[in-house]
């Protein structure tokens, strides 16, 4: 078969385990060259959104405190979030949202090649399990899709990445129809709260620690809305994680 990302021929390199169990791993679908082109986020410079680089025009002096070490600072965007009264997310992202990740997302999400969930499933689950332990997470809550998008796509792209105790705590409000990725930053920031609490989950949220899971963190708008929805329902603390930032 061919690599699902670059379409170049992929020599079968299945492990003995996958041959025995018939179970596929990410490396059975995507060639090692393509895999190596994803950029893992290793050195975080803002502790609240988990970014590892600043937008081009911003420099370090816009950061909150010059004296603190990288990873303990708050970037300009997150300062704005806090000024708007949003709580901290302590977001973590595994990979940079670069060209290679865009290509992946376009195939996985927009074309809808569900097989590609295997590429990052293991890693995302591991990261979530680690956070559950570290932060004593009670519930793992995925960012939901609108009903019509879910019907079209046939899957929620973050679903395969979930691990631990999963709670479908959020649903989308009816009128929210626009795909975030089709909007620019300004439009995204102007959008209205798209989420509400799922019926009957209120008691599960009160005083609990929650981990939100999304595929991409772009402006933070989606996750901040989701978090404030949970805080309103009485959540004690909300963390978030995404595959890409």
């Amino acid at each position: 078969m061919n690599c699902l990302l670059c379409q170049e021929f992929l020599a079968q390199q299945s492990s003995a385990l996958s041959l025995l169990t018939g179970r596929q791993a990410g490396s059975d679908l995507v060639c090692s060259r393509c895999l190596s082109q994803f950029t893992p986020i290793t050195r975080v410079i803002c502790y609240d959104c988990g970014r590892d680089s600043l937008p081009n025009e911003e420099t370090i002096d816009k950061m909150s405190d010059n004296e603190t070490k990288p990873g303990q600072q708050l970037c300009h965007d997150c300062q704005r979030w806090q000024a708007m009264g949003q709580s901290s997310l302590r977001h973590q992202a595994l990979y940079r949202y670069d060209e290679q990740m865009k290509e992946y997302m376009s195939r996985y999400k927009f074309i809808g090649d569900y097989r590609l969930h295997l590429v990052f499933q293991k890693e995302m689950r591991q990261a979530i399990r680690r956070l559950i332990k570290q932060e004593r997470i009670d519930w793992v809550v995925p960012i939901p899709l609108t009903q019509s998008r879910l019907a079209k796509r046939g899957f929620n792209q973050v679903e395969p990445f979930l691990s631990g105790k999963v709670l479908a705590g959020l649903v989308t409000k009816e009128q929210q129809k626009v795909e975030q990725s089709s909007l620019d930053r300004k439009k995204r920031m102007e959008g209205e709260q798209p989420f509400k609490l799922a019926a009957g989950v209120g008691p599960n949220i009160v005083n609990r620690t929650i981990l939100l899971v999304d595929d991409i963190y772009t402006t933070g708008r989606t996750l901040h809305y989701a978090a404030s929805c949970l805080y309103q329902a009485g959540a004690a603390q909300v963390f978030s994680i995404s595959l890409a930032r």
Binding site: E8, I111, G112, Y114, A151, K152, G154, F155
Partner: protein, 426 residues
Amino acid sequence: MDDTLFYGRLVTWPQSEPIDREHYQLLSAFVGNRCQRCGQDDRASLPNGGFYCLACLNLGRVASHDVLLTLAEPNDFPAYGKMPWTGQLTASQGRVSQELIDSYQKGEDRLVWAVTGAGKTEMLFPLLEHALQGRGRVAVLSPRVDVVLELAPRLRAAFGIEIQVLHGHQEEPYQYGQFVLATTHQALRFRQAFDLIVIDEVDAFPYRGDPVLNYAVNQARKQGGVLVYLTATPTPDLLRQVRQGKLRQSYLPRRFHQGLLPQIQTRKVGNWRKRCPQRLKVVVLAWQQEQIPFLVFVPQVKDLANVDKCLQKVLKIMGGTVHAGDPDRAAKVLRLRSGDWRYLVTTTILERGVTLPGLEVVILGADDPVFSTAALVQIAGRVARAKEKPTGLVLALIEEPTLVLRRAQQQIDQLNQLAEEMGGQS
């Protein structure tokens, strides 16, 4: 929605979205397990209990929760007058051209076996004009995007009408039109649309032996629509159909400048991946001296850099490397054309479509299995295409002679013999 976008098209539509079921023709996306766009049973499952087709995934997903929409092709085109093209066909081109028009009128398919450099594109013009004048919808399909892009301006100039160019990498949305020029895969998006489909280089990857594309072309033609296959190296399957009388055939063994196809010369060299062969250095130095542009074919992408390095050591002229996944491929070919670069080291991707007067080639590792008989004949066809210089060198550097290479040489001999026999006709 604009109805014209559905004429003779197959549009994937999620069942969950509202649609006027009276207005459109609705087809199930799958019958049993078979995708109704590409006819294959090659599926992956979705967590909603459904599944989707893998065989035609690159054209957008067809899932079990989708339907396919279409509207019957109405041939709603303005009347077409005369084509602006006024070029002259040689006698033998003219003969084949007339055979094609006769076939079209009778509703028969036809295979045109034309040696590379025979001028087969021009030979199609009278047929295409004839079909356009009869309000037929026509499609010219080619397996390679490079060829499509090269043909587009030529066809626009020749016919003076808007031509819909369709391929996988384009940004512009689809529009309804009478004349479609597309990569072969795009045929999957049509249904009973075309009165005439011309399939260029039917032997080439990825049409050959690809059941998806056979299915696609048959779906895309109208009932009673006509197929014309063009090839320089017919596949055994097509030749069998000709022998069985199922397919009519036209020959065009002579190149338009009346010259013959250059024979492939072979030289044994040692392990060329280990040591850059002396023979290669001698040949490229001679080309540099005589200012002849050249291509060096190598079997694999990973050979490109090494071979280029070895050339750069002995040469003073500029050149570069290309392969299928190279985003700058078109630009690099342009640099070669403009004379800015004098050579390219390439994989088989440039075996077709690239025409450059006076070009010569060397095939390094021509005994590698990636070079099929058809590929080798095509590569030889790159050479000696100019009237001023109807000969040229095609050099195969090999470790061991192979049957595939021998067959290619036989096919070239056969074509040249045929050309000699039919010599009086052209």
